[in-house]
């Protein structure tokens, strides 16, 4: 039983990226939006992970998934409201994708796995590391896309790059390509690490 439930998200940035691909592509046109999204995901991971972990003994086996999904949805709503109140510009930049955090595989999968976790503190730690991985990836992708695509960085206009900007970077194709390259880099680094460990 314990072997079946593999925690694929632990220290696996590639998997984190894969399961969080939606916001990673959508909220990375501006570094501020990426940071806002990353922090929001971290908060949701932490909050929902802790809640689910605390309730884990009371949840029947069949209702794990629905409970986790709904907990994540609730936590996302809470975070959305907080963001709307205190960071309205970021909220507007993120737009509809804020709500999507509730349904990305990243947050839901994490919550489901948290149910099997040993303790609340472990879940909390894992939430923070996962969230941080995600945040860093997002900001990096956003920086690349924003600098190359709109010659600006987090509101600062980099006019010397105006001539060289590639519009596709801030649109869908560019998003996929940049993410692919970043994923490849992560993959390469992970492989190296694995080889070293061996």
């Amino acid at each position: 039983m314990a072997e079946k439930k593999t925690n694929i998200l632990r220290d696996n940035p590639l998997m984190i990226l894969l399961l969080g691909a939606c916001p990673a592509l959508a909220a990375t046109t501006d570094v501020r939006a990426a940071a806002g999204m990353g922090v929001m995901v971290l908060a949701v991971l932490l909050l929902s992970g802790v809640i689910v972990s605390l309730l884990r003994s009371r949840i029947a086996a069949e209702s794990v998934v629905p409970t986790c999904i709904l907990t994540v949805a609730g936590c996302t709503s809470v975070m959305q409201m907080i963001q709307e109140a205190f960071l309205p510009s970021v909220y507007n930049m993120i737009g509809i994708y804020g709500a999507i955090v509730a349904v990305i595989v990243l947050t839901n999968r994490f919550a489901c796995e948290a149910v099997d976790e040993q303790s609340v503190s472990e879940t909390a730690k894992a939430a923070v590391t996962t969230g941080l991985y995600f945040l860093v990836i997002l900001v990096v992708v956003a920086a690349i896309r924003q600098v190359l695509g709109s010659a600006s960085l987090a509101g600062l206009s980099l006019s010397f790059l105006e001539e060289y900007k590639i519009a596709a970077m801030v649109k869908a194709p560019g998003a996929y390509i940049v993410l692919a390259i970043v994923a490849a880099v992560i993959g390469k680094v992970s492989m190296k690490k694995e080889k070293e460990e061996k």
Binding site: C22, A26, V65, I69, P173, I177, A180, M191
Partner: protein
Amino acid sequence: MDNSLILVLMAGILANNYAIQNFLGVDSILSNGSSVKKSLRLGGFVTLIMVISAVITWPLQTYVLKHAEYLQTLAFVTVILIVAAAVEKIAGKSPDRDFLLFAVNGAVLGLCIRNAQTGFAEAIFAAAGAGLGFLAAMAVFSSLRDRVEEEEVPEAFRGLPVNLLIISMMSLALFAF
């Protein structure tokens, strides 16, 4: 039939493809390792879930939630979850984790949220369009991925990166619209 509704349908599939152009639900597509046939079936399920969810969430939004906008995410996800579980039960399977995680995805939620601003008929057509778009995206993606020869891909790019590049090609193709 009204011209503009057909346009809404077509837009959902092509120009505004929820998964490819709007990234909604793309994580579900990427993490789904099925064959083309299975993709079609899953996509069909998602389309069904989308349409039913749209039918339920539109009146919910228009008459109830407009007084409590902050409950939107929670309410919609609840509805979608129930619909997905119901669809699975009716199809004869017991709700399992992977399907639920797959079905309750950004495309369905994104659709319901966007529908809040349109009329009811438009909402249904948008749901159908989004669903068919999702299905098409899934099927095309599976088939393209099957054709990629694993060995010819540089090591670092195997798996997720090359999949992302595949989708980027699809997105470039749809860009023309």
